[in-house]
Point group: C2
Chain length 497, copies 2
């Protein structure tokens, strides 16, 4: 979920200085129009990792825009007046009026995350709080509010470096409260539960925007642009309630850096190493699937990837290790008539393995947010809601002991071209290449964007995506097998505890 916010997004000073004046002017204009219309309020929620630039960004927004129309609220300790009333009272009294903007630090999400991270309650209570937040936001949006939710992210390494830098800087060291350091220790918990919260509360009417916080230029520009775009669309929309159209893909990049682009595509394995490692990993998988702890689990492996990335070959190397009674390979093509008469997840539910079993999906439910999205086989609303539905689906699998491992096999455009040409020349491979493959190739960039969004929105702590550098087939096959093995071992280990 935070993958795209750990790849070192940055904007150089020149670009930044060139873009900011126009952005400021446009923001001011939008703010003025917001006031003129006084048709809806704007609520901006600021959350995320300590040291990721939350405060600085809000400070900057106040400089860029007219601060008389912005109310910045921090919700720390409750006052005695607030303590004497229901918890939500403090938020209600701070709501911005129509035409105004309220920026909420330390909002309802901070409260529930702090509580869960510090062990004051368990997941069930966190889920209650999540469901309360959903209902509050749904209501606010139904009443016309435009809600922006920003999650400022840093990788663990980045956070540590940042906190150290701040501490060493005499101008900033006062800002490091004990709580911050404590959070540094509990970074993993914060990210884990943060992911749960984001996954559940990223709704079409109020989606989360994850912002990488390392580079101030990048984060400022990213936040400014998202605000501007959302404001402009809402101001132009008709009707009593502004249409929420700030459902821009999370991974939308303003610096041309993307998750897939950050893969090291030169990874490769020598033949000798490959043969050795392949056999080792195959034997390990066979052993794990025979392990008696497997009785409490099932394994689902999802294979997605570029055309000609070598999914088939990788799947064969997985299967080669195993007893055919234990696994099934389910190739996913266009739905049958029977399947079309059901909700789209139905055709995957029917193939869910029983405990002890292993199902390989050669393409999967992700078709909805890949080919169906790109080719327009379903509406935008359909594929937008699919992210949440898929997360729900995989959570149910995971809760039932199913280990879900998802692979995206990635090759670069040149490698694909070579493989296509090779396929056309080799007789027994010719059936593997069609006109459609060439057509898909023309849409390389839109597919890449869809993949980025998919990973950002569906790579979760319970079912993470593994991006496989597949220019070298040997490297890819071994990485796939090793990932499966590690996932199973992790599940067995967790079970023992």
């Amino acid at each position: 979920m935070f993958e795209s916010a750990e790849i070192g997004h940055s904007i150089d000073k020149e670009t930044y200085d060139a873009e900011v004046p126009a952005l400021r002017e446009a923001l001011l204009e939008a703010q003025f129009e917001l006031k003129q219309q006084s048709r809806f309020p704007v609520i901006v929620l600021i959350n995320g990792i300590e040291g990721a630039g939350k405060g600085e960004t809000v400070k900057l927004l106040n400089e860029w825009m007219d601060p008389r129309l912005i109310e910045v609220r921090t919700f720390d300790q409750q006052s005695d007046e607030e303590l004497a009333r229901p918890p939500a009272w403090r938020y209600w009294r701070a709501l911005p009026a129509k035409g105004r903007m309220g920026i909420f630090f330390g909002n309802w999400y901070s409260q529930m995350l702090q509580g869960r991270v510090h062990g004051r309650f368990k997941d069930a209570v966190l889920d209650q709080a999540i469901s309360g937040a959903e209902r509050l936001e749904q209501m606010l949006c139904d009443e016309g509010a435009l809600i922006f939710k920003f999650w400022f992210h840093l990788s663990k390494k980045q956070m540590k470096a940042r906190l150290k830098a701040l501490k060493d800087d005499p101008l900033h060291s006062w800002r490091i409260s004990p709580l911050d350091w404590q959070q540094s220790q509990t970074y993993d918990r914060f990210v884990r539960f943060g992911e749960r919260v984001l996954r559940r509360t990223s709704r079409d009417y109020a989606p989360w925007h994850v912002i990488e916080g390392v580079d101030p230029n990048y984060r400022s520009l990213a936040v400014g642009k998202i605000l501007l775009e959302g404001l402009q669309t809402a101001l132009k929309s008709q009707g009593p309630v502004p249409r929420q159209t700030n459902i821009a893909p999370l991974g939308e990049s303003i610096d041309q850096r993307s998750l897939l682009g950050s893969l090291d595509m030169t990874r490769r394995l020598e033949k000798k190493d490959y043969e050795e490692q392949l056999i080792t990993e195959q034997a390990r998988l066979a052993g794990l699937l025979r392990d008696k702890r497997m009785r409490r689990h099932a394994l689902v492996a999802v294979f997605e990837g570029n055309d000609a990335a070598g999914k088939g070959g990788a799947i064969r190397r997985v299967a080669a290790a195993l007893d055919p009674r234990q696994y099934r390979i389910v190739p996913i093509a266009a739905p049958t008539e029977e399947e079309r008469a059901q909700p789209y997840l139905w055709r995957f539910w029917r193939h869910i393995p029983a405990r002890g079993k292993f199902t390989v999906f050669d393409r999967s439910w992700y078709g909805r947010v890949l080919v169906e999205r790109v080719e327009g086989f379903c509406t935008q609303a359909d594929w937008m809601r699919a992210y949440g539905e898929i997360n729900d689906f995989e959570e149910q699998l995971s809760n039932a002991g199913v280990v879900v491992v998802k692979f995206w096999l990635s090759i670069d455009k040149q490698t694909q071209l070579e493989r296509f040409q090779e396929r056309e020349q080799i007789p027994f491979k010719r059936f593997k290449i069609t006109e459609e493959d060439w057509r898909n190739r023309d849409k390389w960039d839109v597919y890449s964007e869809a993949v980025g969004d998919m990973v950002d929105r569906t790579s979760t702590e319970i079912a993470p995506w593994t991006l496989v550098e597949a220019n070298d087939k040997r490297w890819a096959r071994v990485k796939v097998l090793r990932t499966l093995n590690e996932a199973l071992e992790a599940a067995f280990k967790k079970q023992r505890k």
Copy 2:
């Protein structure tokens, strides 16, 4: 929430026999059209109290309609195949295809209710299950499904009588499983948690229909008509997803019996009794508000009622007993400019009392589902979602220790006429009667329907409505005071546990 299903709805045999043939024919026709279109599936969920006619009704539906297009599914013990997979798998494999109808007994609601009633988990886990059910149904509806949810209800007394009758009947006694009897013991828990579930999961896309189960004619006709109306509207709607329009008010009555109509309007108090009881109850209220246990609570009293029902007089009798520093009376009229710039609940949140205090709302947030609904000041979507929002609001108050007591002061039409005429004749009362009052009077029936829906949907275990027979002002005033006292005492008692 179940008030309207405990007033003895019934349909006499003649009416029933006269209506059934046309209903059957229309249902068959709708079913045929559903198959022809094969555009969406229909899912019918059957839940409720044991002995309330769930099985009989489904049996009847199968007789009335073409059973080849209906799949009746019972989900009891999980099979070994089901046990080896995620819990939802059993529902997915049983989903009806487009064009068909699935009737689900013992569905996800039964599972969560049984678990909570028998203490296998607490509210937080119940809420998780509720939120899972919401997401499932939302997804099914987004995918086109038409969902009907029926809750068959019996009062406790009715249930006991019914189970006894069944037991004594040799033809039926086999149907009483031990579980049923156990449920008879746990009726209160079943109703309490059932209410929580219904309150949370009655959504515009899949609302609950509460059916009184005592009279077979009534319940059969009610279910048949709701099904027919929902089917017909969905079949006529355009687009890939049928518009869910089966959001008919819960209290819609097919036998002219209504909640307000079932009040005994002849209740009255003699002057001497009144004076005695009034003073007793006033002193009791003053004592309770001074009680040190009040420090943990606040009190909110909501007064709604017919025009000229005596709200003002009742409120004065409440206030007369109290220290003015301890209570506030908030009269609710049209919202101010500042209030119009905020979500509609904002103007009530700002008056929520701190702990130890008492706020009287002379009219309230219920304006949205009463005057705003009837006069068209807001859209149907707005007042439909208000029920859930209000329940959420009151739940937050209740969780924070606020005791919420809600009164509907009810008079009959003749009494209102007399009071209006009296007001016009007495100089110092003339300001109390306006043209608007006469206009409202013309809409007596629509207002009554709105009141019925309001009580059905917002009378909850945490904040129940009290219907006050107010033809006799004395009776009404004493009942109001006594209800307040009992509510406070109950809260104090609960606190002690």
